[in-house]
């Protein structure tokens, strides 16, 4: 199974828009580089660390399920 063989979608765009926050601001608050957040936002990430997920959820005041969802066929 290759690293790209998954159906996880990252809803970072929608959360940022809902919070009125830019990627740069999020980067400063979370302590993750803009490049890495951009990789996550554009769906090019292969994995996310629990520590990153925790910080993102703290800053965006959300749960992991608000950030990540699995795309299902036919839905």
């Amino acid at each position: 199974m290759s690293g790209d063989d998954h159906a996880v979608e990252v809803g970072l765009d929608a959360l940022l828009a809902a919070r009125g926050m830019t990627l740069t601001q999020l980067s400063e608050l979370v302590g993750v580089s803009v490049v890495n957040l951009s990789v996550l936002k554009n769906g090019r990430a292969r994995a996310i660390r629990f520590s990153t997920l925790t910080r993102l959820c703290e800053v965006l005041d959300c749960q992991p399920g608000d950030l990540l969802r699995v795309r299902r066929e036919g839905r």
């Binding site: 690293g3 990430a45 994995a47």
Partner: protein, 218 residues
Amino acid sequence: MELPLTATPLRRAARNPLRPLDVTLDVLVKVMTSFLVLSSLTMVFGSGTLLGFGERTICVRDDSPSFDSGADHLPSLFKPGVVASQSGLSLCVNDPSFGQRALNVATQLPSFVLYFAAILMLWRLVRHAAQAGPFHPGNVRRLQVLGWWLAVGGVVAKTAEEAARTSLIDGMYRTADLDPLGWFGFQFSLVLTGLGLLAVARILRMGVEMREDLEGTV
């Protein structure tokens, strides 16, 4: 005296994993290329020889004959209990035919090509690893090619040289006794090294995949 609490932990400086192989191969490739060019020039314009090319007298050693030493006639060179015997003949042709020249070259050329090409492949692999990093798919491919080259070449080169040597020797006897089965040979160390490199290539491929996962982790 108290150590400052904010002292950063000591870290060993990252070493180049390719040292000293990269420098060694750079020197080796230059020396071998220079030797090849100089030998070719002396062969073409002088009386030099290279891998059997340019030899005016061809000599080959036949190890099969065995002779009694005639120890009774020898002065007492050896300690009591030592039995002396000699085996093998050195057969030389002063005016070799084209076929004999070709066979003579074939007794030396395959191993040279095998080793020279292997060193060039390793040199290219190390240069690529220095540029692209050790965990790169290109390194896996190059390592696989080198592994197969050594594993297969260790058999092919030895067999070809043995066939040429046997044919050359047989051509010097009045009655030839061709035995193609006796031509087969292989260099165990090379075959083992080649198979080992193929295993290392598979391990490196796993490392490349892990590296890609790591780079894609946020």
